[in-house]
């Protein structure tokens, strides 16, 4: 019984100690402990397994209200959400050649913005100003700040949570609707 209590205490301490240090760690930093509900503003990055060493890798992009916003929520002039994006990869073998680069893009891929190269801790940060978007990590030949579109293989990708909001046309109870009337192929 005593052993169980001590074991339980040790487990508690082992969890509590790192947690106590995490409060000052920012999103995307090692040891970051997001607040409750943060999963609502987190994009899961899923590996494509396109390059060696990524089979078991995981990743995420955490979104937060930009520090520059004086309001509770960052909104642009056209009403789009503005977020700071913090990308982090785990359990990832760093490629021996090339640079991992983080991008954000609209779902239509008609606009692409380069967040920047991942650092040695496999972190990158930047901003995004779209409501629905993808986060893409690619392996580029080098770190070219002028590069406007990736050319290397996609290593990770994820969709903003708002991407889960999808059309109901031709779907379920609404399948008898004429999809073409709403701009979709029937």
């Amino acid at each position: 019984m005593l052993y169980r209590q001590r074991f339980g205490l040790a487990v508690l301490i082992s969890f509590a100690l790192p947690l106590a240090n995490m409060s000052s760690v920012g999103a995307g930093e090692p040891g970051y402990c997001p607040l409750e509900g943060a999963e609502y503003y987190s994009v899961e990055l899923v590996t494509t397994k396109n390059i060696p060493g990524t089979g078991l890798a995981t990743g995420r992009a955490d979104l937060s209200n930009p520090a520059s916003s004086p309001f509770s929520v960052g909104i642009s002039q056209d009403g789009s959400y503005e977020y700071s994006v913090h990308v982090s990869l785990e359990r990832m073998k760093i490629p021996t050649a090339g640079r991992l680069v983080a991008w954000v893009t609209t779902r239509e891929l008609d606009q692409i913005e380069r967040l920047g190269p991942l650092d040695e801790k496999l972190r990158a940060s930047g901003k995004v100003g779209w409501n629905k978007f993808l986060v893409v990590i690619t392996l580029e030949a080098d770190n070219d700040p002028e590069q406007s579109m990736w050319v290397g293989p996609i290593v990770f990708r994820g969709v903003s949570r708002s991407g889960m909001m999808h059309t109901m046309v031709g779907h379920g109870a609404l399948q008898q609707e004429n999809c073409a009337a709403y701009g979709y192929a029937s």
């Binding site: 509900g37 004086p70 509770s72 929520v73 009403g79 959400y81 990708r157 889960m164």
Partner: protein, 566 residues
Amino acid sequence: MMHTPPTLITRVTGYCLTVVAAAALAGPLTAQSEMPGMDMSGGWRMVPMDPNMIMLPGLAGAVPIVGAFLPGEGINPANFPEAEPSQVVEMVDGDTLDIEVSIVRRSLNGHEIVMFGYNRQYPGPLIRAPKDATLIVRVRNEIELPTTIHWHGVRLANEFDGVPGVTQEAIQRGESFLYEVHVPDAGMFWYHPHAREDVQQDLGLFGNLLVTSPNPNYYGPVHREEILVLDDILMDEQGALPWGESAPTHALMGRFGNVMMVNGETDHQLSAKKGEVVRFFLTNVANSRTFNVTFGGAQVKLIASDVGRFEREVWVESVVIAPAERYVVDVRFEEPGTTLIANSIQAINHFRGEFYPHVDTLSIVTVSTETAAPGISDSFDSLRVHDEIAVELEPYRPHLNREPDYELEATLRVQDLPPAIVLSMEADTLFFPPMEWNDAMPVMNWLSTGDQVTWILKDRDTGAENADIDWNFKVGDLVKMRIFNSPDSFHPMNHPIHIHGQRFLVTAMDGAENQNLAWKDTAIVPVGSSMDLLVEMSNPGEWMLHCHIAEHLSAGMMFSFTVQEQ
């Protein structure tokens, strides 16, 4: 092709099954475009909708479970006096103002409709008074609903806070109440009923109280000042849509209007000279709508909020203003021609699963070629840093980052909603926007009443909810609160949280420290976010804390706490 986690597959499959189940339950779809404006049972009329929207199965012909209410129903609107634009009332310490709450006639969007008014004005009289004045306001109620006046943001004596059942009995028709309004803070405040706000405020009962500072340099120089009271109202081809008689409709999302108003007008216009710097005092009096106010291409400087100035002035592209919030901005109009003040949002079309840009013009500013004098560009171009605010805030800084003393969780509970709504809403939990900028589900929202929806503030330490929360403080206490807006509830939604009688600082959002503080009394918590407040308990009495979406408040999202003298 995206790689989809198994959990998501499960949830989406569940969604499909649920929607199919709803269809099986309820029969054929209804073309929404046939319905708006249609007379229905119980005095209801079908709520307006985008004609491209589809009504969910099972909702055709349904009406709210409560009776319909329209003021002066059955009486020719011409029998009521026509309301007039707001007038400025300059008051000094000890002055008395009589306010009559009465039925008025308004012409809105081509309709003669019956509304309410303070002294038959829209908005109510703009009261201007110096800081530290005490104003006497005698309120007489001549409408059929019991009412009060709450002096929003003013740290006045508790007995005059205007909360029925807490600080006073509601003023019945034909009765009066004498308010003693002491104004210890400079800034833009407002007044409104604290009884069935969803009806009375929506029908025009609101006005501003501008408290001026003795410091002539409190704000920077401008050419002139303008008041912008932002509002919306829900109308169809016959006029204003009825409100719920015994409980509010639109309890899920609040009643969004489809007609925008500034200072009670649907066609608000201003003129300005080239280079003119105008100070705008913005107040959002809408039941539920948060505005994203843009000023065309004009430069916008944010200088103050509810109960005071920001530590540092900042440039902004737009002003995000939630219900009951106030912001003060200086705007320079440089380009001759027309500048639109607009509400610029990304609305949601749930049917298509899309965001789409939507702009409503709030006001048209005509800028002439005549140059404004004197030239004040130099002062406008600089951003002031208020050292005196930094000094004032010094005693509070040690408390900004400490752990919260109290934690509230915002959530909701529903009962007896139509099955089609429950099934659809339970399936629709994969994504809710942090902020609701438009009513993307008008019928479901309309059908949900305060009798079926309970919005909840839960004390996470005790589990107590709403009126059962028992918080007691002493004057001088600095209380750290964390308000978490749970994304996992039946229908999460942003909540503008208002605290009566005290002032607070928003110290952090989602753990990120606020670097530019201003005293506030209302602040919005987006879905899934945590907002940390440092509340200065400076004013004794029993005070309310509640969501300022009028329908959420009426659906239970409130409680009172006490502050005792030391």
